[in-house]
């Protein structure tokens, strides 16, 4: 399948107490049509920043995209409204607003705080529909209403009318996250970004939400970017996986490839820390240390201080290497056999 979104050499910085925090460095990524891409990393590694960058949602007071391109490969969605290939970063406000919500939808981590507490769910869904579909395929109030109800039905909400009339504080977390998904898909985006969609919810709800996302992705033939710190989640539904560490992509491969043949020491340890992948009788692997301070980063491998296999060559600048077809790794020691840990 063709690419729908292409991120080229993206650099993002944040400002904290007058210091510059380098949140993303040289991130290159492509998203194919109708694929589910998992983005995995520890908290603070820059994965949410990546999600926000795609829609240019980083507040100018907090940080900015310093370099790079984010190309959205638009195609004829509405006949009169051909977008063409567009760089989101250099896009004007008007076109950017068409992309936001209309072409690329987004779901956030905490459904409780992501809905505006003073408007009903219905009002908030209407708002999206009015922005992106009025003047195109929806032109009457009843059509908008019907479409909003439809969206809620799609996310398996049993009493959509009641949910429409409710305020966010009257609903449960699971219900809110469904409504959030309904709002995001109501404008039929080509890409859906889900930033830790299940983290704030009960474990029992996690699977339901994930299955729902997968179902919707197929029904509406969207591409889905699933951002999470939980490898178990991506294992189940993603087609391709990207691992981020300290603001850099360190490994990228198909889902099966990465689980069976992980090459970066960090990925290997990340997999080793999953309880159910642990071979009988072995202890869970714990990664010592913490993510490095993003203010003064070393030149070479960012995982160097925590890595068992580290050597002096790791201190040089390291580029991504293709070790297998579609399998990229940023580690200077990948030529050597390092699967001894298993």
């Amino acid at each position: 399948m063709a690419d729908i979104l292409e991120i080229k050499h993206l650099f993002v910085e944040y400002y904290k107490r007058k210091k510059v925090v380098s949140a993303l460095r040289d991130v290159c990524l492509n998203l194919k049509q109708q694929e589910i891409l998992g983005v995995v990393g520890e908290s603070g590694c820059g994965k949410s920043t990546l999600a926000l960058s795609i829609l240019k949602l980083i507040l100018p007071t907090e940080g900015k995209i310093t370099k790079g391109e984010i190309i959205f490969k638009g195609y004829e969605l509405w006949e009169e409204d051909y977008l063409g290939d567009k760089n989101i970063i250099s896009m004007g406000d008007d076109s950017l607003r068409k992309i936001r919500g209309g072409e690329i939808g987004m779901i956030f981590q905490d459904p409780f705080t992501s809905f505006n507490p003073v408007f009903t769910i219905g009002e908030q869904i209407y708002e999206s529909l009015v922005l992106h579909r009025v003047g195109k395929d929806l032109n009457t109030y009843s059509a908008i209403h019907k479409e909003a109800i439809n969206s809620l039905k799609r996310v398996m909400i049993a009493s959509p009318q009641q949910v429409m009339n409710s305020y966010p504080h009257q609903l449960s977390g699971g219900m809110l996250q469904r409504a959030m998904i309904a709002m995001a898909i109501s404008c039929r985006p080509k890409v859906l970004i889900a930033d830790e969609p299940t983290t704030a919810l009960d474990v029992t709800l996690q699977k339901e939400i994930l299955d729902l996302l997968k179902k919707l992705q197929q029904e509406l033939s969207m591409s889905l970017i699933l951002i999470t710190h939980n490898l178990a989640i991506v294992a189940e539904i993603c087609t391709r996986i990207v691992v981020i560490y300290a603001g850099e992509i360190i490994e990228e491969a198909g889902s099966e490839e990465i689980f069976c043949r992980p090459r970066h020491p960090y990925t290997i340890r990340l997999l080793g820390s999953l309880p159910y992948l642990k071979p009988e009788g072995k202890r869970l692997v714990v990664i010592p240390g913490t993510i490095p301070d993003l203010i003064d980063l070393p030149v070479g491998c960012k995982f160097y201080p925590r890595c068992d296999e580290a050597s002096d060559t790791c201190l040089q600048k390291i580029n991504m290497k293709e070790v297998n077809k579609g399998h990229f790794v940023r580690c200077c020691r990948v030529k050597e056999e390092i699967d001894g840990l298993y």
Partner: protein, 312 residues
């Protein structure tokens, strides 16, 4: 609300009666000729010979029928005296409140949205000065500038001397001219406070996740700010409406005195200066009542704009 009124009146009552000065002295004036006998007759006339709690009880009983008693000074009903002055005070306070909200809210929003800009920094300076300036001094300076040096505005009272001869429009214009300085001065402190508070609240709201959601939907920035953010920021701001009333009414005692504004504040000040007990109590109660009414209105607005609050 009723316990509050009782509490407030009780405190005032006790203070009045613990105080050493006796109202009889002031009624009798400085006249040493007044005999002890006639003093005690005055005392029993006003019921002052009974212990304070009996007096309080009697007073409370009359209050229920809105009877505040008669003024010591001229024997007129306290109720009538206050009612004559109330419209002028209400006019002044309502206009000030209106001005405060009308100006402070946009200033606060703008400096929050453009945080760190030149406008925002200027606003911060203005609010700091606004907090710190003695507003009665500001009133004096403005009187000197606009009243004395430039001669544009009148500096005392509510009407000009030849008010009766004016046409209707002339009367209105005369009133407006008399209002400008008192309203501006009494709004000034609140203006600084509310600008700062609405800036602070807006900054809080803008950081919320739902604002990010609104942007992610593709809403234009003006809808994000004026629809999504402002609706939420208004909730804490209206509670301030209630809390700013005691300040306004307190300010009234100063500004009405400075500008010789014929309102309740000046009446209260004069009553205090002449130890007019029933009038002092009356003004105190009405002032407290106005504050409570303001709080009630604020609660009601709160109820209307925050769906999370339900009737108790």
């Amino acid at each position: 609300m009723i316990p509050l009124i009782i509490g407030i009146s009780l405190i005032s009552f006790i203070i009045l009666h613990l105080a050493p000065g006796s109202p009889v002295d002031s009624v009798a004036g400085m006249n040493i000729e007044v005999s002890a006998d006639s003093k005690s007759r005055l005392c029993s006339l006003y019921g002052l010979d009974k212990p304070w709690y009996i007096q309080y009880y009697n007073w409370l009983k009359r209050i229920i029928f809105l009877d505040f008693g008669d003024s010591f000074k001229d024997g007129r009903k306290v109720r009538t005296k206050i009612l004559e002055r109330l419209p002028a005070t209400l006019l002044l306070n309502v206009l000030s409140l209106f001005l405060i909200f009308l100006i402070a809210l946009p200033i606060g929003i703008k400096s929050a949205v453009k945080q760190g800009s030149f406008f925002d920094k200027g606003m911060t300076v203005f609010t700091f000065v606004g907090f710190s300036i003695p507003t009665f001094w500001l009133a004096l300076l403005l009187m000197i500038l606009f009243g004395v040096k430039l001669g544009w505005l009148p500096i005392s009272g509510m009407h000009s001397l030849n008010y009766e001869n004016f046409s209707f429009l002339g009367k209105l214009w005369d009133l407006v001219k008399h209002l400008i300085l008192p309203v501006f001065c009494s709004a000034f402190g609140g203006l600084a406070y509310l600008s700062r508070y609405s800036r602070y609240t807006m900054l809080e709201v803008i950081r919320q996740n739902y604002i990010r959601t609104a942007r992610a939907k593709g809403l234009p920035e003006k809808d994000v700010i004026y629809r999504h953010a402002l609706r939420n920021a208004l909730i804490p701001i209206v509670t301030l409406l209630g809390l700013s009333l005691p300040g306004l009414i307190s300010g009234g005692f100063i500004f009405e005195t400075i500008f010789a504004w014929p309102g309740m504040g000046r009446l209260g000040y004069l009553a205090i200066m002449s130890y007019d007990y029933p009038l002092i109590m009356g003004v105190g109660i009405i002032a407290a009542f106005l504050t409570l009414a303001g709080n009630l209105i604020a609660d009601f607005i709160y109820l209307c704009i925050d769906p999370r609050v339900k009737y108790k």
